[in-house]
């Protein structure tokens, strides 16, 4: 297997979405190709870090304000009737 072929399968490999045979071929490639091993390992870490560290949390205060605003707007829409859609 060439490195370009490995890269094409990287998504499925990382997502555990490969059949056993293809997975074994990729494992073989990783066993001897250090570059692909590093790319695979650091891409996996990239996903994990983004998953575990959410940069945009919604603060409780803002959340309450947004929920109230949504409720008010929905009520107004309901009163105005379907013609306002």
């Amino acid at each position: 297997m060439k490195c370009t072929e490995f890269l094409k399968e990287l998504n499925e490999y990382l997502d555990g979405a490969l059949d056993a045979r293809t997975r074994a071929e990729l494992d073989d490639h990783l066993a001897w190709c250090h570059n692909c091993y590093v790319v695979c390992d650091t891409t996996k870490k990239t996903i994990q870090i983004f998953k575990n560290t959410e940069p945009y949390e919604l603060p409780d205060e803002l959340r309450t304000r947004l929920q109230q605003a949504i409720q008010t707007k929905c009520q107004a829409k309901k009163k105005a009737g379907p013609q306002s859609v």
Binding site: T4, L7, L10, N11, L14, N35, V38, V39, D41, T42, T43, K45, T46, I47, I49, F50, K51, N52, T53, E54, P55, Y56, E57, L58, L62, R63, L66, Q67, A69, I70, Q71, K73, C74, Q75, K77, K78, V85
Partner: protein
């Protein structure tokens, strides 16, 4: 395919029970749906617009639009996927208004021959994120993802952060499954490349 077909054959999910109640005019049920997904919609909107005020507007507009058009939700997919589709469209509209000089579209394809080929291959420390405090790390991730085109970062966020399946992401973004897969791979590899400078293991000089 699996995820979408499951919702058709399985007994109604908790989500679907709320949606059906909301359709009959139960505003409390709709309020529950808002509570369930407002954080997700806010995150997605913030990632696309990169602007706090716009993200707040998108949360309100998306839920209002969902409320108004609830009868049109056909229950063939998850409500959340449908809601994400509305939110993404609202967020893209905001982005277009902010950047009228540029066409902003999820279809924009800026692929170059080698944008999926890693240029820098260097090992990272075992837990590289631990070298930074939470605020620093958030800043790094925010700066890193901002550099990606909207179409790439949206696919990455939906698949890898929000946990939608490839099919659900395709449905929410009105893209084909192969387009989602291709963008996801390129987004993952580009983010990896951009994080290199923060996380590469320091080289030990030997004398």
């Amino acid at each position: 395919m699996g995820a979408i077909q499951h919702t058709i054959t399985d007994p109604p999910s908790e989500e679907l029970v709320l949606v059906r109640a909301a359709k009959t005019g139960d505003d409390k049920a709709f309020g529950e749906l808002v509570k369930r997904y407002d954080r997700n919609v806010f995150r997605i909107a913030q990632h696309i617009t990169q602007n706090r005020e716009d993200a707040e507007d998108v949360v309100q507009d998306a839920f209002l639009k969902a409320y108004t058009n609830l009868q049109q939700f056909q229950e063939q997919s998850k409500f959340y996927t449908w809601l994400v589709r509305i939110a993404v469209n609202e967020a893209l509209m905001k982005l277009r208004r902010r950047r009228p000089e540029r066409t902003v579209s999820l279809d924009e394809d800026i692929q170059t021959e080698d944008d999926s080929v890693p240029r820098e291959v260097a090992d990272w420390a075992p837990n590289p994120e631990q070298n930074y405090n939470q605020a620093e790390l958030r800043e790094i991730l925010s700066r890193t993802i901002q550099g990606l085109p909207p179409g790439f970062r949206t696919v990455f966020i939906l698949r890898d952060v929000e946990g939608l399946s490839t099919e659900e992401t395709a449905e929410a973004l009105e893209l084909s499954v192969p387009a989602v897969k291709s963008r996801l791979l390129r987004a993952r590899l580009q983010l990896r490349e951009r994080l290199n400078r923060y996380f590469v293991k320091p080289t030990v000089e030997t004398t």
